[in-house]
Structure formats: structure tokens, C-alpha cells
């Protein structure tokens, strides 16, 4: 039986500890700002100033229609929509980048600082430690993504209302990306980092290996986004695939939560 109170104690301790780390805190604050404010401002706001030219042949003709009224849109509007979709991808990258930073500190950091030994000596199960550690990576990441998404949504909406005349992101697709794809990717990256932590002994090594491996998950963001635009049924398949991947990675992570292995790999 898993005692969630024990896992939550680990989670709250990690939150307190993370808040004391300037380096992690900076990543935690700066990254949502970059992805949620800075990038949209420099890439989407310029569309407010572009001319509203209509042409029969545009630079976006190579693309399949991104909206139902694609052919009626001006080049500026098509450019805006194309840029927003690209920016969505950037926003979802947070699900991969942030867990790499946080897990490296909260999980590998326990090994690095040898505090993991003290945890292993306490009357708690491996699963409770695992759950606590996973929560302390997933929860701040998801909060950061939600905050980033909210600011991103507000800024993008301001521009789309001006340029398109409606809230472009106020649709189920964007919410599906933020509510389903992002947390599932976060769980996958976190568990990948746990695997990485069993192979490395320092936070720096974990970050280097973890960030390289995490990049292999980026095609999943692209596939999820494209399937949402072109085939919602295919999107369901992507979600199921991500769910299965998470399940397998959790099983792998739990299997790796072996006291002896953790101790002897220090």
C-alpha cells in the first residue's frame, strides 16, 4: 500500500529545497517567460504591423490548409497562423526542458549530495520515494507550463483578435495540447530522467545525458500537433501511445528504484 502522505512529505520538502536553489528557480521562472512571453512577443506581435495584402499565390501555398477558411485568408493572416502553430511547438518544449532541469536537481541531486542514503534509511517504501520524487518534478513543471500557456494565450489572443478578428487559440486543439500532451510528455521526460539518474552520479552528467535523450521525445510534440490539425482521430492514437509510453517508463522507473542499486551506484 502506498502512503501518499509520505510521498507528499518528500514533494513538499523538494519544493522548499528547489525554491532555495537560485539556479533551478531561475530556470523555473525564466523558461516559462521565454516560451510564454518573450518568443510570442518577438514572433507574433510583428504581425500587427504587417500590411493586410490579399494574393492568389502566397508563400504558404506549400502547406496543407491549417484552418477551414485557409484559402480566404490574407498572406499576413496565414503567416500569423503558421507562426502560432510553430510557437505552440515551442511552448510544449517546456514539457521536455523543465523536467530535465528539475529532476536533475531533485532526483540526481539527492545522489550527488548523498542525501539519498538518509532517505533509504527511513521507514518508507521505494514506491513512496519514487512517487514523491516524480511529483516534485511533474507538479512544478505543469504549473510552469500552465502559467506560460496562460500568458502565451493572452498575448496571442490579443494579436489574433486584431488580425483575424477572433480568438484563434480558443479552441479544443490548444487545450488538448496543454492539458493532455504536455503532462504526458512531462511524465515521460521525468521518468527518462530517473532512468538517467541510475546511470549517472552527478547532476551535471544527468543534465547532459538527460537533455540529449529528452530531445528524442520532441518528434512526439510535432506528431501530436500535426495530428490535431489534420486528423483528430490520429491524435487519439498519439495520446494513447504517449499514455503507454508513460506507463512503460513508470514501470521502468519503479523497477530501478532499488535501494541497493541506488546505494551502490553512488
Amino acid at each position: 500500500m502506498i502512503r501518499t502522505s509520505k510521498a507528499l512529505t518528500i514533494f513538499w520538502k523538494d519544493m522548499k529545497d528547489l525554491m532555495q536553489s537560485k539556479y533551478v528557480l531561475l530556470s523555473f521562472l525564466v523558461m516559462p517567460f521565454i516560451f510564454g512571453v518573450f518568443i510570442p512577443v518577438i514572433s507574433i506581435f510583428p504581425f500587427l504591423g504587417f500590411g493586410d495584402t490579399q494574393s492568389s499565390s502566397t508563400g504558404f501555398d506549400f502547406l496543407p490548409p491549417l484552418t477551414n477558411d485557409w484559402n480566404q485568408l490574407t498572406e499576413n493572416q496565414k503567416g500569423l497562423i503558421f507562426t502560432i502553430e510553430t510557437m505552440n511547438f515551442m511552448l510544449l518544449l517546456l514539457s521536455i526542458v523543465l523536467p530535465t532541469v528539475i529532476a536533475a536537481d531533485s532526483f540526481v541531486g539527492e545522489k550527488d549530495r548523498r542525501t539519498i542514503v538518509t532517505l533509504l534509511l527511513l521507514p518508507i517504501t521505494d514506491t513512496e520515494i519514487y512517487l514523491g520524487k516524480v511529483l516534485s518534478t511533474i507538479v512544478p513543471t505543469i504549473i510552469a507550463i500552465f502559467i506560460g500557456s496562460l500568458t502565451y494565450f493572452s498575448l496571442v489572443s490579443y494579436v489574433t483578435v486584431k488580425v483575424l478578428g477572433y480568438f484563434y487559440l480558443l479552441n479544443y486543439k490548444f487545450f488538448l495540447l496543454v492539458i493532455f500532451v504536455s503532462p504526458l510528455l512531462t511524465i515521460a521526460t521525468t521518468n527518462l530522467m530517473i532512468w538517467v539518474s541510475t546511470r549517472t552520479s552527478t547532476t551535471r552528467d544527468a543534465q547532459q545525458l538527460g537533455s540529449t535523450l529528452s530531445l528524442t521525445l520532441t518528434p512526439l510534440i510535432l506528431i501530436a500537433m500535426l495530428s490535431l490539425i489534420y486528423s483528430p482521430a490520429y491524435f487519439a492514437v498519439v495520446i494513447i501511445f504517449l499514455g503507454i509510453l508513460d506507463y512503460l517508463l513508470i514501470k521502468l522507473g519503479l523497477g530501478l528504484m532499488d535501494r541497493e542499486k541506488l546505494y551502490t551506484s553512488l
Binding site: 509520505k6 518528500i10 522548499k16 542525501t115 542514503v117 534509511l121 521507514p123 535501494r259 541497493e260 546505494y263
Partner: protein, 312 residues
């Protein structure tokens, strides 16, 4: 309290090479005993503690700690032990209070706040409870470590190198604290250390371990007797009286090992320490001016070096 049967730990390194951590360890440690675990680096001391604290699983054999099997009931074992390891394992960015609260909550301790206050004031660190552990001196960290290990009022306390890195003064302070804690609270204690000077003043029993095996299981007193086959007495007298003293000693059944004419020191090989008063009386009757009389009892350190020195 502790009973091990053929407890064995074999490590296998990345290259598949096997090496012995501990081998066929058969131990019986009773409630309230204070046991010192001595041995060179890599002898198996930490492996023994890690097996008893359930971090490591035995390759063979078993152990019962406070009535619980380390393999079948590791959680129960961890509930009744307190460990102060060789690395502190504190969260340096958090305060001492936060650290103790965290470990206390995970250990499921009732009345945690009052326990923390009671222990930290006893250990004289209550005034630094809200300071970050990263700013603590080595001595304060050791005290905090002790507080954490005692938080759950453990039936078995395991200390791994408690004096490591401490100044001589801090070592004495910690030793006195440990003496108080261990005697007053009637708990079983295992101290793994290289510091025999400090340990020999606390332990009731000592286990000398080498190459994963117990090579000596004795009390400090018995061990000293065993290694004191030739009792030696050191007598320091006025150098002007050396001739008279030599004559008196030669007339007894004792023999002189060495004489220093410069400072008047005579090392006497005595039959039995019980005869020391008679010898001193004989010297005093002949007006020999005696400055010092000392029985040369081997220290545990000397015995330890004799026992393991040859093999290491």
C-alpha cells in the same frame, strides 16, 4: 537485539569481478550493549551496518534486528533503528529544523516539534535550529546527525565514524555526549570507527573485523589482558637513586627491561601488577625518591595494530 546467521555480502563489480563485503557473520548483540566495530578500510564495517539497516540485501544468510527479519520485514527494521552515517546527508539549503521535521515526518514520529526541541536543547544546538545546515560547522553537523538518529527513539543506534573530521576538543565533547546518550537511555549501540582512542572509553565490547570476517570478539578488558602477557611497570625516580633502585629490583623476582640514566626511568618486567605496591614499598623504605609509577597497559590501538597490522 541483533542476531546474524551466516550473514554474507558478495559484491559484483561492473566487470563481473566478485569481492567479499562480509562473510559468514554470526553475531549476537544483546539489548543495551555498546559495541565497537573496528577494522581497516574495506574490512566490512560499513557493509555490516548497511546490511543491518536494510540498505543492502545479504547474498546469503540472515539477520534479526529487534525481533524483525531484515529480509522479510525491512520497513519494521528501519522503524526501530537510528543511523548516523559517515556522510551527514542533510539538505544544505534547508534549515536544521526543516531537515529534522522532514525526517521526523517520514519516520512517523508523534509530537515531532517537542521531540525536536527536547533533543536539540539536550545536544545544545537549539539556538541554530533555523540556520541553514550548509552553514554548520563539522561539530554542529555531527550533533544534528545525532539528533536525527535519535529522533525516533531507536532501540538500535548505529554510528559510522562519528568522530571523523572533528577537532580533538569536539571529539571529546561528542564522546561525552555519546556516553550520556548510550548509558542513560539503555539502547543498543554499534559504533563503527577507526578512532579507537575515543571508542575504547565507551564500548562494552569490541568486534575487530578484517577481510569481511570477525577476527576478534571480546571486551576491552579481556583483550588487554590477553595482550598483556608480560606486564610492564614504569617507575620514574630521582636519577641519583638509580643504583639503589637497581639493587632492590634485582633482589626481587622482577627484571629490569631498560633504564634511562638521564631521566631516571626504569621499565620493569613485573610478574603481576598485584605485586606493584610491595615493589614500591621496598623502594620507598630504601629512601628512593619516586616521582611516578605507571602500569604499562597496552591501548586498544596497539592491540588493534597487532591484530590487523600484519595483514594490511
Amino acid at each position: 537485539m541483533i542476531e546474524t546467521t551466516e550473514l554474507t555480502k558478495i559484491y559484483i563489480d561492473a566487470g563481473g569481478q566478485k569481492y567479499v563485503g562480509v562473510e559468514n557473520l554470526n553475531l549476537r548483540i544483546g539489548k543495551g550493549e555498546i559495541v565497537g566495530l573496528f577494522g581497516p578500510n574495506g574490512a566490512g564495517k560499513t557493509t555490516t551496518l548497511n546490511l543491518l539497516s536494510t540498505i543492502l540485501k545479504p547474498t546469503k544468510g540472515d539477520a534479526i534486528v529487534n525481533g524483525y527479519d531484515i529480509i522479510k520485514n525491512p520497513l519494521k527494521v528501519r522503524e526501530c533503528i537510528g543511523v548516523a552515517g559517515d556522510t551527514p546527508g542533510f539538505y544544505a539549503r534547508l534549515s536544521a529544523r526543516d531537515n529534522l521535521e522532514f525526517f521526523g515526518k517520514l519516520a512517523g514520529i508523534d509530537n515531532l516539534e517537542s521531540k525536536i526541541m527536547e533533543l536539540t536543547s539536550y545536544l545544545n544546538i537549539d539556538n541554530v535550529l533555523d540556520r541553514k545546515v550548509g552553514t554548520f560547522s563539522k561539530g554542529m553537523t555531527q550533533k544534528l546527525l545525532l539528533a536525527r538518529a535519535l529522533l525516533n527513539d531507536p532501540a538500535l543506534l548505529m554510528l559510522d565514524e562519528p568522530w571523523s573530521g572533528l577537532s580533538p576538543l569536539a571529539q571529546v565533547e561528542l564522546r561525552d555526549l555519546l556516553t550520556e546518550i548510550t548509558k542513560e537511555r539503555n539502547r543498543t549501540v554499534i559504533i563503527s570507527t577507526h578512532n579507537l582512542v575515543q571508542a575504547e572509553r565507551i564500548v562494552d565490547r569490541l568486534l575487530i573485523i578484517n577481510h569481511g570476517r570477525i577476527i576478534k570478539d571480546s571486551t576491552p578488558e579481556l583483550l588487554r589482558r590477553e595482550f598483556m602477557l608480560n606486564p610492564l611497570l614504569l617507575v620514574k625516580i630521582d636519577p641519583r637513586d638509580l643504583r639503589i633502585a637497581k639493587r632492590i629490583i634485582d633482589g626481587t623476582n622482577h627484571s629490569i627491561n631498560s633504564i634511562s640514566e638521564q631521566d631516571g626511568t626504569i621499565e620493569i618486567s613485573i610478574k603481576d601488577f598485584e605485586q606493584t605496591p610491595d615493589l614500591v614499598k621496598g623502594l620507598a623504605i630504601e629512601q628512593v625518591r619516586i616521582h611516578e609509577v605507571r602500569e604499562l597497559i597496552p591501548s586498544l590501538e596497539e592491540i588493534y595494530i597487532k591484530l590487523v597490522g600484519g595483514n594490511n
